[in-house]
Symmetry: C2
Protein backbone atom coordinates (compact mmCIF):
# COMPACT_ATOMS: atom_id res chain seq x y z
CA UNK A 1 0.00 0.00 0.00
CA UNK A 2 2.89 2.36 0.77
CA UNK A 3 4.01 2.00 -2.82
CA UNK A 4 0.54 2.87 -4.18
CA UNK A 5 0.43 5.97 -1.95
CA UNK A 6 3.91 7.12 -2.98
CA UNK A 7 3.09 6.53 -6.65
CA UNK A 8 -0.10 8.58 -6.38
CA UNK A 9 1.80 11.37 -4.59
CA UNK A 10 4.47 11.41 -7.30
CA UNK A 11 1.90 11.61 -10.11
CA UNK A 12 0.08 14.44 -8.39
CA UNK A 13 3.30 16.35 -7.66
CA UNK A 14 4.14 16.37 -11.37
CA UNK A 15 0.58 17.31 -12.35
CA UNK A 16 -0.22 19.90 -9.69
CA UNK A 17 2.95 20.89 -7.85
CA UNK A 18 3.52 20.87 -4.12
CA UNK A 19 0.74 23.15 -2.95
CA UNK A 20 -1.81 21.37 -5.15
CA UNK A 21 -1.05 17.91 -3.76
CA UNK A 22 -3.34 17.34 -0.78
CA UNK A 23 -3.63 14.19 1.33
CA UNK A 24 -7.24 14.04 0.17
CA UNK A 25 -6.21 13.94 -3.50
CA UNK A 26 -3.52 11.33 -2.81
CA UNK A 27 -6.01 9.11 -0.97
CA UNK A 28 -8.48 9.36 -3.85
CA UNK A 29 -5.84 8.61 -6.47
CA UNK A 30 -4.35 5.69 -4.51
CA UNK A 31 -7.82 4.38 -3.59
CA UNK A 32 -7.04 4.22 0.13
CA UNK A 33 -8.55 5.91 3.18
CA UNK A 34 -6.96 9.16 4.43
CA UNK A 35 -6.47 7.50 7.82
CA UNK A 36 -4.28 4.84 6.18
CA UNK A 37 -1.99 7.59 4.93
CA UNK A 38 -1.84 9.38 8.28
CA UNK A 39 -1.05 6.12 10.04
CA UNK A 40 2.12 5.86 7.99
CA UNK A 41 3.09 9.55 7.57
CA UNK A 42 2.17 11.94 10.33
CA UNK A 43 2.65 15.03 8.19
CA UNK A 44 1.94 15.83 4.57
CA UNK A 45 5.45 17.33 4.22
CA UNK A 46 7.08 14.04 5.25
CA UNK A 47 5.09 12.07 2.70
CA UNK A 48 5.75 14.54 -0.14
CA UNK A 49 9.44 14.72 0.65
CA UNK A 50 9.69 10.93 0.62
CA UNK A 51 7.69 10.77 -2.63
CA UNK A 52 9.88 13.38 -4.38
CA UNK A 53 13.15 11.73 -3.32
CA UNK A 54 12.28 8.07 -3.27
CA UNK A 55 15.34 6.65 -5.01
CA UNK A 56 17.16 3.98 -3.11
CA UNK A 57 19.38 5.78 -0.63
CA UNK A 58 21.18 2.56 0.19
CA UNK A 59 24.90 2.14 0.29
CA UNK A 60 26.86 1.89 -2.93
CA UNK A 61 28.34 -1.30 -4.31
CA UNK A 62 32.10 -1.55 -4.01
CA UNK A 63 34.56 -1.15 -1.20
CA UNK A 64 32.32 1.21 0.75
CA UNK A 65 35.14 3.75 1.00
CA UNK A 66 34.58 7.48 1.39
CA UNK A 67 35.27 7.98 -2.32
CA UNK A 68 32.74 5.28 -3.33
CA UNK A 69 30.14 6.70 -1.02
CA UNK A 70 30.48 10.30 -2.29
CA UNK A 71 30.67 9.18 -5.91
CA UNK A 72 27.41 7.30 -5.45
CA UNK A 73 25.71 10.17 -3.60
CA UNK A 74 26.68 12.91 -6.06
CA UNK A 75 25.39 10.91 -9.02
CA UNK A 76 22.20 9.97 -7.19
CA UNK A 77 21.57 13.58 -6.14
CA UNK A 78 22.07 14.81 -9.70
CA UNK A 79 19.66 12.18 -11.00
CA UNK A 80 17.02 12.85 -8.34
CA UNK A 81 17.03 16.61 -8.63
CA UNK A 82 16.85 16.49 -12.42
CA UNK A 83 13.63 14.44 -12.34
CA UNK A 84 10.30 16.15 -13.19
CA UNK A 85 8.99 15.25 -9.72
CA UNK A 86 11.81 17.08 -7.96
CA UNK A 87 11.48 20.13 -10.23
CA UNK A 88 7.80 20.30 -9.49
CA UNK A 89 8.13 19.73 -5.75
CA UNK A 90 11.24 21.81 -5.04
CA UNK A 91 9.66 25.26 -4.40
CA UNK A 92 7.16 23.75 -1.96
CA UNK A 93 9.87 21.73 -0.22
CA UNK A 94 12.02 24.85 0.16
CA UNK A 95 9.06 26.64 1.71
CA UNK A 96 8.42 23.72 4.07
CA UNK A 97 12.08 23.69 5.14
CA UNK A 98 12.10 27.43 5.88
CA UNK A 99 8.84 27.45 7.84
CA UNK A 100 9.68 28.84 11.25
CA UNK A 101 6.92 27.25 13.33
CA UNK A 102 6.97 23.72 11.93
CA UNK A 103 9.92 23.08 9.63
CA UNK A 104 10.30 20.04 7.42
CA UNK A 105 12.49 17.50 9.20
CA UNK A 106 15.07 17.57 6.41
CA UNK A 107 17.66 17.91 9.16
CA UNK A 108 16.69 14.52 10.57
CA UNK A 109 16.57 12.84 7.17
CA UNK A 110 19.94 14.31 6.20
CA UNK A 111 21.51 13.24 9.48
CA UNK A 112 21.31 9.56 8.51
CA UNK A 113 23.34 10.14 5.33
CA UNK A 114 25.72 12.51 7.12
CA UNK A 115 26.45 9.84 9.76
CA UNK A 116 27.26 7.33 7.04
CA UNK A 117 29.60 9.80 5.27
CA UNK A 118 31.26 10.65 8.59
CA UNK A 119 32.09 7.00 9.36
CA UNK A 120 33.75 6.48 6.01
CA UNK A 121 35.53 9.81 6.19
CA UNK A 122 37.14 8.81 9.45
CA UNK A 123 38.51 5.62 7.87
CA UNK A 124 39.82 7.44 4.76
CA UNK A 125 41.21 10.70 6.12
CA UNK A 126 44.90 11.05 6.89
CA UNK A 127 43.98 13.43 9.73
CA UNK A 128 42.76 11.95 12.99
CA UNK A 129 39.28 13.36 13.46
CA UNK A 130 37.20 13.49 16.64
CA UNK A 131 33.59 12.28 16.33
CA UNK A 132 32.39 15.88 16.23
CA UNK A 133 34.96 16.91 13.62
CA UNK A 134 34.02 13.95 11.41
CA UNK A 135 30.32 14.80 11.73
CA UNK A 136 30.86 18.52 10.93
CA UNK A 137 33.07 17.69 7.97
CA UNK A 138 30.56 15.11 6.68
CA UNK A 139 27.73 17.67 7.01
CA UNK A 140 29.76 20.16 4.97
CA UNK A 141 30.41 17.53 2.28
CA UNK A 142 26.69 16.70 2.23
CA UNK A 143 25.77 20.38 1.86
CA UNK A 144 28.42 20.97 -0.83
CA UNK A 145 27.26 18.28 -3.21
CA UNK A 146 23.55 18.81 -2.70
CA UNK A 147 23.97 22.58 -2.90
CA UNK A 148 26.06 22.61 -6.05
CA UNK A 149 23.51 20.44 -7.87
CA UNK A 150 20.63 22.70 -6.76
CA UNK A 151 22.50 25.81 -7.93
CA UNK A 152 23.13 24.24 -11.36
CA UNK A 153 19.40 23.58 -11.69
CA UNK A 154 18.47 27.11 -10.61
CA UNK A 155 20.93 28.64 -13.09
CA UNK A 156 19.62 26.36 -15.84
CA UNK A 157 23.08 24.88 -16.43
CA UNK A 158 23.63 21.31 -17.57
CA UNK A 159 24.76 18.65 -15.10
CA UNK A 160 27.47 17.32 -17.40
CA UNK A 161 29.78 14.39 -16.68
CA UNK A 162 32.68 16.86 -16.56
CA UNK A 163 30.86 18.88 -13.89
CA UNK A 164 30.23 15.79 -11.73
CA UNK A 165 33.87 14.68 -12.10
CA UNK A 166 35.26 18.09 -11.16
CA UNK A 167 32.88 18.46 -8.19
CA UNK A 168 34.11 15.12 -6.84
CA UNK A 169 37.77 16.15 -7.30
CA UNK A 170 37.28 19.40 -5.39
CA UNK A 171 35.49 17.65 -2.53
CA UNK A 172 38.16 14.93 -2.31
CA UNK A 173 41.10 17.33 -2.56
CA UNK A 174 39.61 19.78 -0.10
CA UNK A 175 38.42 17.25 2.46
CA UNK A 176 40.84 14.32 2.35
CA UNK A 177 44.16 15.79 3.28
Amino acid sequence: MDQAILRAARDLLVERGYSGTSIEAIARRAKVAKTSIYRRWKRRDDLLFRAAFAFDRGDPKGSGSFADRINHSVRLTARELRSPIARSALPGLVEACLRVDDPLPLGRIAEIEIASIGERLNESSSRKLTTKQARDEAALVYDLYHGVVIMRLLRGERLSAAFVKRTLEIIFDGVLK
Copy 2:
Protein backbone atom coordinates in the same frame (compact mmCIF):
# COMPACT_ATOMS: atom_id res chain seq x y z
CA MET B 1 12.51 56.42 -7.11
CA ASP B 2 14.22 53.06 -7.71
CA GLN B 3 15.10 52.97 -4.02
CA ALA B 4 11.49 53.63 -2.96
CA ILE B 5 10.29 50.83 -5.25
CA LEU B 6 12.88 48.37 -3.98
CA ARG B 7 12.10 49.29 -0.37
CA ALA B 8 8.37 48.75 -0.93
CA ALA B 9 9.09 45.40 -2.62
CA ARG B 10 11.29 44.29 0.29
CA ASP B 11 8.66 45.21 2.89
CA LEU B 12 5.97 43.35 0.97
CA LEU B 13 8.16 40.28 0.46
CA VAL B 14 8.63 39.96 4.21
CA GLU B 15 4.94 40.59 4.92
CA ARG B 16 3.34 38.53 2.15
CA GLY B 17 5.95 36.29 0.55
CA TYR B 18 6.78 36.02 -3.13
CA SER B 19 3.41 35.06 -4.55
CA GLY B 20 1.66 37.76 -2.53
CA THR B 21 3.87 40.60 -3.78
CA SER B 22 2.27 42.00 -6.93
CA ILE B 23 3.47 44.96 -9.00
CA GLU B 24 0.15 46.60 -8.11
CA ALA B 25 0.85 46.33 -4.38
CA ILE B 26 4.43 47.58 -4.81
CA ALA B 27 3.22 50.61 -6.79
CA ARG B 28 0.64 51.44 -4.12
CA ARG B 29 3.13 51.07 -1.29
CA ALA B 30 5.85 53.10 -3.06
CA LYS B 31 3.31 55.70 -4.24
CA VAL B 32 4.38 55.47 -7.88
CA ALA B 33 2.55 54.50 -11.07
CA LYS B 34 2.75 50.87 -12.24
CA THR B 35 4.16 52.12 -15.55
CA SER B 36 7.11 53.67 -13.70
CA ILE B 37 7.96 50.23 -12.33
CA TYR B 38 7.61 48.49 -15.68
CA ARG B 39 9.83 51.12 -17.33
CA ARG B 40 12.66 50.07 -15.03
CA TRP B 41 11.97 46.32 -14.59
CA LYS B 42 10.37 44.50 -17.47
CA ARG B 43 9.37 41.50 -15.36
CA ARG B 44 8.12 41.13 -11.81
CA ASP B 45 10.64 38.31 -11.22
CA ASP B 46 13.55 40.62 -12.06
CA LEU B 47 12.37 43.28 -9.62
CA LEU B 48 11.71 40.80 -6.80
CA PHE B 49 15.07 39.09 -7.31
CA ARG B 50 16.85 42.44 -7.17
CA ALA B 51 14.84 43.46 -4.09
CA ALA B 52 15.61 40.21 -2.23
CA PHE B 53 19.35 40.34 -2.99
CA ALA B 54 20.09 44.05 -3.03
CA PHE B 55 23.31 44.11 -1.04
CA ASP B 56 26.21 45.76 -2.72
CA ARG B 57 27.66 43.16 -5.05
CA GLY B 58 30.69 45.33 -5.67
CA ASP B 59 34.26 44.18 -5.48
CA PRO B 60 35.89 43.68 -2.12
CA LYS B 61 38.45 45.98 -0.60
CA GLY B 62 41.99 44.62 -0.60
CA SER B 63 44.25 43.20 -3.23
CA GLY B 64 41.41 41.97 -5.39
CA SER B 65 42.93 38.49 -5.44
CA PHE B 66 40.92 35.31 -5.94
CA ALA B 67 41.04 34.65 -2.19
CA ASP B 68 39.78 38.17 -1.35
CA ARG B 69 37.01 37.89 -3.87
CA ILE B 70 35.73 34.51 -2.64
CA ASN B 71 36.08 35.50 1.00
CA HIS B 72 33.93 38.56 0.31
CA SER B 73 31.36 36.62 -1.71
CA VAL B 74 30.91 33.75 0.76
CA ARG B 75 30.33 36.15 3.65
CA LEU B 76 27.96 38.30 1.58
CA THR B 77 26.00 35.26 0.43
CA ALA B 78 25.66 33.97 3.99
CA ARG B 79 24.44 37.40 5.14
CA GLU B 80 21.99 37.83 2.27
CA LEU B 81 20.43 34.40 2.50
CA ARG B 82 20.02 34.65 6.27
CA SER B 83 17.93 37.83 5.98
CA PRO B 84 14.15 37.66 6.54
CA ILE B 85 13.61 38.95 3.00
CA ALA B 86 15.54 36.11 1.42
CA ARG B 87 13.82 33.51 3.60
CA SER B 88 10.46 34.85 2.60
CA ALA B 89 11.29 35.19 -1.11
CA LEU B 90 13.31 31.99 -1.61
CA PRO B 91 10.50 29.49 -2.41
CA GLY B 92 9.05 31.86 -5.03
CA LEU B 93 12.47 32.55 -6.52
CA VAL B 94 13.17 28.82 -6.77
CA GLU B 95 9.86 28.38 -8.57
CA ALA B 96 10.66 31.27 -10.94
CA CYS B 97 14.09 29.76 -11.71
CA LEU B 98 12.63 26.33 -12.52
CA ARG B 99 9.82 27.64 -14.73
CA VAL B 100 10.27 25.97 -18.08
CA ASP B 101 8.59 28.52 -20.34
CA ASP B 102 9.97 31.74 -18.88
CA PRO B 103 12.75 31.15 -16.36
CA LEU B 104 14.18 33.80 -14.07
CA PRO B 105 17.34 35.22 -15.60
CA LEU B 106 19.43 34.09 -12.63
CA GLY B 107 21.85 32.67 -15.18
CA ARG B 108 22.49 36.14 -16.62
CA ILE B 109 22.82 37.79 -13.21
CA ALA B 110 25.18 35.06 -12.01
CA GLU B 111 27.30 35.34 -15.15
CA ILE B 112 28.57 38.79 -14.11
CA GLU B 113 29.91 37.47 -10.81
CA ILE B 114 31.24 34.31 -12.45
CA ALA B 115 33.22 36.39 -14.95
CA SER B 116 34.78 38.39 -12.13
CA ILE B 117 35.74 35.20 -10.23
CA GLY B 118 37.16 33.70 -13.43
CA GLU B 119 39.48 36.65 -14.06
CA ARG B 120 40.94 36.51 -10.58
CA LEU B 121 41.20 32.73 -10.68
CA ASN B 122 43.33 32.92 -13.79
CA GLU B 123 45.75 35.28 -12.04
CA SER B 124 45.95 33.14 -8.88
CA SER B 125 45.97 29.58 -10.16
CA SER B 126 49.23 27.72 -10.63
CA ARG B 127 47.65 25.88 -13.57
CA LYS B 128 47.41 27.66 -16.91
CA LEU B 129 43.71 27.82 -17.70
CA THR B 130 42.02 28.52 -21.03
CA THR B 131 39.21 31.10 -20.99
CA LYS B 132 36.64 28.31 -21.05
CA GLN B 133 38.34 26.38 -18.26
CA ALA B 134 38.52 29.49 -16.08
CA ARG B 135 34.84 30.23 -16.71
CA ASP B 136 33.74 26.65 -15.94
CA GLU B 137 35.86 26.55 -12.79
CA ALA B 138 34.53 29.95 -11.67
CA ALA B 139 30.93 28.77 -12.25
CA LEU B 140 31.59 25.71 -10.11
CA VAL B 141 33.05 27.87 -7.34
CA TYR B 142 30.01 30.17 -7.56
CA ASP B 143 27.64 27.20 -7.32
CA LEU B 144 29.58 25.63 -4.45
CA TYR B 145 29.45 28.60 -2.12
CA HIS B 146 25.90 29.62 -2.92
CA GLY B 147 24.71 26.02 -2.77
CA VAL B 148 26.35 25.19 0.54
CA VAL B 149 24.78 28.24 2.20
CA ILE B 150 21.33 27.35 0.81
CA MET B 151 21.64 23.76 2.08
CA ARG B 152 22.58 24.99 5.56
CA LEU B 153 19.45 27.13 5.62
CA LEU B 154 17.24 24.28 4.42
CA ARG B 155 18.63 21.92 7.05
CA GLY B 156 18.18 24.58 9.73
CA GLU B 157 21.87 24.51 10.61
CA ARG B 158 23.76 27.56 11.85
CA LEU B 159 26.09 29.49 9.52
CA SER B 160 28.91 29.62 12.04
CA ALA B 161 32.27 31.32 11.57
CA ALA B 162 33.90 27.87 11.63
CA PHE B 163 31.63 26.76 8.80
CA VAL B 164 32.51 29.79 6.65
CA LYS B 165 36.24 29.29 7.31
CA ARG B 166 36.17 25.59 6.42
CA THR B 167 34.09 26.20 3.27
CA LEU B 168 36.69 28.71 2.09
CA GLU B 169 39.54 26.27 2.82
CA ILE B 170 37.91 23.48 0.83
CA ILE B 171 37.24 25.76 -2.14
CA PHE B 172 40.80 27.12 -2.11
CA ASP B 173 42.45 23.73 -1.65
CA GLY B 174 40.28 22.07 -4.27
CA VAL B 175 40.44 24.83 -6.87
CA LEU B 176 43.83 26.49 -6.52
CA LYS B 177 46.32 23.79 -7.23
